[in-house]
Every structure is written in structure tokens, then in C-alpha cells.
Amino acid sequence: MFGLNKKDTRLMWIVITMVVFAPFILNPFPETSGMAQFNAGYPDLMQRFVIFGIFAIGFNILFGLTGYLSFGHAAFLGIGSYAAIWMMKLLTMNVIPAIIVSIVVAGLISLVIGWISLRRSGIYFSILTLCFAMMAYALAYSVLTPITGGETGLQPKLNDPRIFDAPLAAGASPKANLFGLQMGATYELKLGGWLFVINAGYYIAGLLMLAAFYLSIRIFRSPFGMMLRAVKSNQQRVNYTGLNSKPYTLAAFVISGMYAGLAGGLLVAMDTQAGAERMFWTASGEVVLMTILGGVGTLIGPVLGAGFIKYMENIVSKINSKVLHEWFAFLPDGMEDFLVAVFYPFVGKGWHLTLGLLFMMIVIFLPGGLMEGGQKIADKFRNKKKNDKDDSAQAAATPAE
């Protein structure tokens, strides 16, 4: 289907199902239960899942296929954001021009940065991209303040030109929309104790993520994708096979830059503001973590990694000492205080500690990321099933005495 083989079609359907039913899947606990704080099915977080999913899918096209580790991809995310917000200021609050221009601008800038950075490979390439990202951050934060808003960032203002939009009604504020459908438009579905939130912005971002995911499958299965994997495996042989590796890696770099631009544009579409902090080097590091955590070079791994990290960031960081005390309330007081003291550094503001430990464990025990873990579990089940079958087959073969 759609030019995909059977296995990829199945994967595509799984991802489609996940995206469509995410508001339900991510809200497994009734609203009033104590577990409700583990629910991730609210629009803000779901939007982040799919947007950072796009970011990681794009990053994986560069890192997973060519092996070139960019430490500056957040720059393209930020550039996409600024481009999008300027479209909202100048043209219209409709998200379409914002998203298109964010992809184009990020693509152009990544062409320049990639052209220079790809003169080197390995660690030097990583350092070059890191340098560019830090320059981009410094420019956005101070030098280019008239364009980027510096420390305060940019938001759509009431007096922006917005030449395509009708003047705002008195007292109304500019809201991102798709031909009138506001990104923030939500429908709350109450079923028993459960509350499901259906949000327009999430589904628009989700649709774009599905398109991005589909495109990444096609790239992975194309001759182009095969050449990129060849570059990762043995660049010398690529050159002696009559292939010019430079335009291949540059194309991969630009494609992943455009994915990052799309993610940046969507961040603005969902939450109309842009600031320099999303270009900081930690943001670049985050997408590296997402990709490695999920599984480098796998199709769905980066999406899982992105979801995993964003979940941790938003859910684990919300657990405070009060919540911990509630959990351990059934224990004797001394025990309770002790356990709270043990767990406290790992939750709330300390969520990075938990993430770091998990990351360490995954890199050591599952170098292939979450995908490898899934594979191992699946293999175990399959083997067990096979053994059962063999046993029963044997039992059938030996007649009862």
C-alpha cells in the first residue's frame, strides 16, 4: 500500500492508530483517581509528542542513516520557529504559510551550515555543527534582537501588520488557526470517570507527523537511503564505487534540517511564541538522546524515544514530595519518610537524574535502544510459542500408550 511493503504497511498502520487514538490511549486512568497524574492525554503534551517525534524522525535520517552525528540540530528548530512567527506577524495567523516558510528557511540555512560542516566527518563534524548552533543561539539571544526579540522572544502582537487577515475585533487577541479552525479548539469527551480531550492542533500536528513518518519510510527503502547507509558503513568504498558521498550526506543533512524546521514551525503554530532557548545546545543534545534512546537507524525508534523523554519531562517532573508522601502513606511514619527521602532526588526537579540513569542503562544493556528491547521481548515470546508448538507437535506425534 502507498508503495510500502507488507511489513512497513503494518508499521504505518500501527503509527496511524497510535496517533489517532492517542487522546484515549494516553489517558488510561480515571480523572479522579490518584493515578490521574500519569495521564499524558492532554493537548499540550500530546502536541509535544508528535512535534518532537518529527524532530527525531528527521534527525534519524541524518544520524541513523549516514552516521553523521549533528550536535546542532536545535538551531534549525529555532530557525523554523522564528520563520513561522514572522509569517504570523506579517502575513496571517493561518498556520499554513508559517509551516511552509519554516521548512523552507530551515532547509536553506541547513544547506549553508551542512555545506561547511560536512567538510569534516566524525567528531569534527559534531563540533562544527555545535559551533554553528551556539552561534545561532548567541545571534538570536543578543545580536539579532530586532529580528528575534532577544531574551523576551517573539509573540504575535495586536498591532502587527498581518496583511492577509481581517482586522481583529475589539478585545480579541490573535490566535493561530487553520482557515478559522483554532489550534486551541478542543472537545472534551466525558465517559464515566474518564475525561478525553480531542484537540484540533494535536490532530493537525499528528497528521503532519504521519506524513513525515511515511516520507522517512520511503527514504529508508529508497536507493538514496541505501547509499546513505553505505556512507555510514564505508565512505572510502562509496567514493571508489563512483559515488560522490558529499551531495548524498548534504542532501540528508538538508532533509533532516527541514524536518527540524517543520517541528519548529509546528511548535509556534501550537503555542504562538518563539525564544532563543529552544536553540540552546541542551536542546540539540535532547534530540540525540531521543534518537539513541529509541533506537538509532530504526524507523519508529526515534518517535518512541521522543515520546519517552517528553513524558518523563512532563510527568516525572510533576511528582513532588507531597505526592510521594501520599504514595507511601500506608507505611509507618519512619519508613514513609525514609522512602520519600530516597525517591525525592529522582522526581520533580530531579527528573534529569532518572532520565540519566535510564539512558545509561539503555546504552549499556540495550545499545539498540527501546526498539532492541522490544525486539528481544518479542523474540522471547516467539521462541516460547514455537517451543510450545514443538512440544505439542511432539506430543501429537507420540501416540498415547
Partner: protein
Amino acid sequence: MGILEVQNVNKSFGGLKALQNVNLDIEEGTIHAIIGPNGAGKSTLLNCFVGKLVPDTGTVMFDGKSLLGIKPHEINQAGVSRVFQTPEIFSDLTVAENVLIPCFAKRDGAFTLNALARVTGETDVREKAEQMLIDVNMQDKKDMLASSLSRGDKRRLEMAMCLSQDPKLLLLDEPTAGMARADTNNTIELLAQIQERRHITMAVIEHDMHVVFSLAQKISVLAQGTVIAEDLPEKIKGHPKVQEAYLGGAH
């Protein structure tokens, strides 16, 4: 007029003169062996042919065009393929993909942004790669990872990769090094067959005299960076200078 003409090539690394006034003429459609003791400059010479090294002085002409200052992929696209001393293959890819890549490179040139085509849909390239694997008798291993092949198979795969491009000139750097006698004989047979069937010009660097004398139609002997003899195999055998270079003195 040979297909590859090397004239007065010099190359030095620091104070070491690796190549001194090397002249070489490889006839089209022949197998030309380059022999010589270790450190004679054989691999350096080959590196000058494929764009890995640029000679300090001298010219290297292939098919009437100079190869100097041209990038490796352009030299390959012009029709020169090289099998390396240690197999250079795509270890993380399957055997089939290893052969598909040069087939795509041959058809589509140095760069094509065919990101929306499907590898499985490119029937002509796939058939060609499949046939190549059958020719080198590796079709049963096509789904294996190249890294899991034996050393001899890796070398055979590399040869298949080079041959699938229908090169005009195939450079082989010790194609049988580290192979068992049986594998060596297989390789000799394979190369002889290819030469007979496709008339590919080959330049072979080799230490194994058994290989050299079963394949070569002409032999150049390199010692300390210069060609000390170039002749037909039967004449090289008894050449006094060759004996001296190999055995370290006249006998």
C-alpha cells in the same frame, strides 16, 4: 597505445622516494601483473591511479585522459575499479545490497536524489546484481551481512562489486592474499573466466608467483620504486635483475 599509460611518475614521502621515474603501459584487454618485493612501491603506484595519491611529477593517462587531480569517484565513473588489499566492502549491509550499490552507481552516476524510488522496484538493477552474485557463486549468501562473510568471500564480494560496474580497467591489489590454495585457484579461475568473457583489462599486484604466472600476459617488476623489468612472463622468470631483487643477490 595502452589503455593506461604511466610516464615518469615520481612520488616521495618525506625523504623516502617511493616511486622514481616509473613508466608503465597497460595494453587493452590484457592481464598485466606488477610484482616486486615488499616496499617496492606497488600499492603507492596503484594509489596514484585511483586518485588516492597525486604523483609529485609525471603523468597518468587513462583512455587518453589524465587521471591526475581527479576525484576518486570521477575516476571510477570513467571506468577504473579497484579491489583493495584488505577488502573494502559495506560491512553493515547485506551481500545483495553490497552489489546493488555499484549497480546503481553505474546506472545513475555519481549522485541522484532518488529518495522516493524503491530499491525493490528497480528491476533492471536488481536483475543485474542477482546475475553478478550467481557469476561469483554467492547467490545463496545474498541475505547475509557482509561482515559475517569469511575473508575469502569478502574478497570475492569485493570483486563482484567492482565487476558489476563493467569497468574498463580493474585494479587488483593482492587478490589472493591470505587465501587457502583451493580458494586461490578458484580466484584464478574466476579472473581468467572474466577476462575471457568480458575482455576487461586488469592490473594485478601479487606476491604469489603461482597466481602471477597462471594469469599474467605481461609482467612488470618493481623494486625500490623503479621498474627494473617489463616483459612476457616466460622471459621474466629467468631475468637476472628480477632474481637479484627477489633473492637479494645474484645466484
